[in-house]
Amino acid sequence: MRRISAILFLTLLLSLNYSCRHSPSSEVTQGQITVNLKSAPDKLNPYMTTNAYASIVNRLLHPSLLEFHPKTLELQGYLATSLPGQQLIDTGRLNGNYAFNYEIRQEARWDDGTPVTGKDYAFAIKCLYFQDIDAPVWRSYLSFIEQVQVDAQNPKKFSVLTNTTYFKAREMTGVYPLPAHLYDPNGLLDNYSIEEIKNPEFYAKNVKPNNVLMAWAEEMNSPLRTRRPEGLHGCGPYRLADWTSDGRIILKKKDNWWGDALYEKNDLFAAFPQEIVYEITEDPNTIYNQMSEELVDVVSNLDPALFDRTQNELKDEFQTFTPLSTQYYYFSFNMLKAPLDDVRVRKALSQLVDRDKIIALLFGDQAQKIVGPILPTKPYYNKDLKPYAMNVDAAISLLEEAGWKDTNGNGIRDKKLYGENVELSLDLLVASESSVFQDAAAIWRESAEKAGVDLQPVAMEFSAMRQKLKNRDFDIFGLAAGLELGLDDLYQQWHTNNIETGGNRAGFGNEESDALIEKIRSDISQKERNEAYLAIQEILHKQQPFAFLCTPKSRIVVHRRYGNAFSSSKYPGFFEHHYRITNELN
């Protein structure tokens, strides 16, 4: 009896499994596209987050004034009619600095139908400078904006006054307006000007003690304004329809979205899917399983091995794209410290990195070697320079030349430094979260051993590692950094002013490179600037403060039913709102 019941139980279990294997296409309703995100976004206010996943969702909720066109990678007006006019201020406190004159499109509207105006932009900047709103990073980025003057006749026109002549200021002022009438219905901020809010003394005296304002700021920070459908408003094509905790984010297209009328002229305003679902799954295997069951349509940065498998096993269902991503991987040397203050040692070490092996094994051949911190598709990328190739003999001769010889016969080179015999043994910091860097470090270590260099990979948590880098307490570290679609500003990472505290951790720089960086940042013609870019890349290549590795390609997978799918270098590489079902497969 018991045996029978057990058998019955098992058959029941199995039969239920079979009976519920419903056909995959039944889950896909017309006009719905499912996109995988590796991690949940934190806040859906563009100023309050630096989270990469939040920015994917935010670009459909809160469009900015200026956008890069995903296909041409050209900066265009999105909410603004065109790129802003740039003019020099000739009077008053800001004399000699730039002002930018914007005009917002007549069609642009918020959720509730009210037009987007210059006042909304001014409101966004006020929010940004409001000290009790959690936007510290963006506050530091845009600290050069001083005033926003809205045209009295045409509220759609406004000019942004800055305190700088910085060459990227135009691009950077094209940020996101916020709905003043929805986020601040009582007009609390109308009583204050941007300058007043920005002034710390005024803020401490008049704003901070005001309980109403503090309560308002608290509300702006709260999940209501950053995570809940009922409190979140934007002027983008989609609105947040639902967000289950750590589950899925559902965006629905707005009825009568204003951009539909503009699509004929410019496909920047494409918004085809009626519903976009962001499925949050971190585990690569689960993502792959979801793909094979056709539960997800768009995946980016798929695990290299699984990307290969997709190309073989799921090629009938999925199309694959490999655009260059806007980041690069590097190992940075500490140029301030012996023995890496010697350029020959740096060059030798750079020649011991087997970049081909790293790309083949760790990136599944989906990466491109680079020579400098500039996206390889840029016109001013220095194509004459060749990335250092793996060459043990050349490295050995460089080390010998620099005086590193194995005198005590332990297999590790040594040299007399400050009257002491120092072994060529270096710590290599990598983040324990990144398996790519740990494996790359292992590959490097293996080849360095052949040249008598002792590399010791040390894996530590990223936050702990950051602390060490901040104190310049390292020999070598490995990290990934971002690349720009617009013009590159090399000041932060390569200027000698930032050696002590800023982003120049390698300690790179001399008069020549500083002059070039300053030249690039000044107001010169693009031709001159390109020449300066080429020159500084050459210096970087010769000096090797970094062993530049490669720019990986984003491994993007899109379902074949989206026949017009494309990808590009613009983050995140896929553009789900452009994708349209052209051929139904099942």
């Binding site: 081909d356 092996k357 292992a442 293996e446 530590m460």
Partner: protein, 373 residues
Amino acid sequence: MKAEQTYQPNIKRVGILWKYPEWLIIALLLIFQAFLVGPGGIMCVEKSEEGQCVEEMTRPIAYDPGEMITGEKLKAPLTEGPKGRHWMGTDHLGRDVAAGWLRGLYYSFTLSLIAGIIAILVGLMIGGLAAYYGNRFPINHWSAECIIVALAILISFVVYHQLRFWLPGLGALISFLFFGLFLSFILWRLGSKALKRTGLIAEGRLNLDQMVMTGVELFESIPALLIMLTILSMIQIAFYWQVGILLGIIGWTTAARFARSEGSKLLYKKYIRDLQRLGLSDLKILWKYILPSILPSLGVVFSYSIAAFILAESFLSFLGIGLPGEFSSWGRMLNDARRFPQSWWLGLFPVLGIFLLVWAYHRLARQLEKKST
């Protein structure tokens, strides 16, 4: 006659090995692993007098555990590689699975043994103290109080003095310790009546048993992951056995529980009480009578806890926080294998390895259990 007598046990010993084939396999693998895997895949058979190698030989497993070969991704078991046969195939980075597997066995085995020894020592000490001194540790005399407090202050002072430069975070810990000590001292003086009701102190005696069990419960309620992550972020793991020590420090509670319950059961046996009445010293009783009688069941706990440490280590490495990347670990191999279902060997061999070791220890424990009852 004499020869026979000495011969007899030998048969028994060999017989024991045959009775435990899994131990035979493990022992052979461990003994020969130095021969099977080694740097460069080459071994020196004969050395000249100057230490130069005269005759070289390719090892059966001709690859280093961490050696990545570009063209050798995901090769099936028994395929020929550039240097030799891949007995268990290769993984997605072109590493030889057999070399990594054997090294993983070595790490897993030694690491869990270290952890087990530490756990059993710490647990035995704490649990034994709790059982033996239970609630008969008199501190109702003022001198005892003073000695305890002074000792504690002295010890924490010395420890702090030694560590203050290397681990600044520990300073906080120590001052917390001071605080706890002062607080308990004041509480003890002011509210011993109230304390008596909580059971920590019974009738002018410190209830060591209760205190230890509270400590055990507390320790068990704090997630081991938190403790592990905190310690791992403070120190750098440079040797695999450091992980073993950490695991041992985290996992002593089972042994302590066992020692306490087993010990207190014994203490109510009549002969122990008689021995005490006879005036034997505590140490002598512990060493000569109590320890031998709990030894078999101690073996059981020891084997089971080693098996648990093997599982813990491989699970932590599976999550990516146990052994650092440069050490081969079965858990890490298993986690990597999940992405390659077509390459069955990546998943199968680590699972077999874990199973073999854990099974061996479990079987040992069961046999000991049978013997002790």
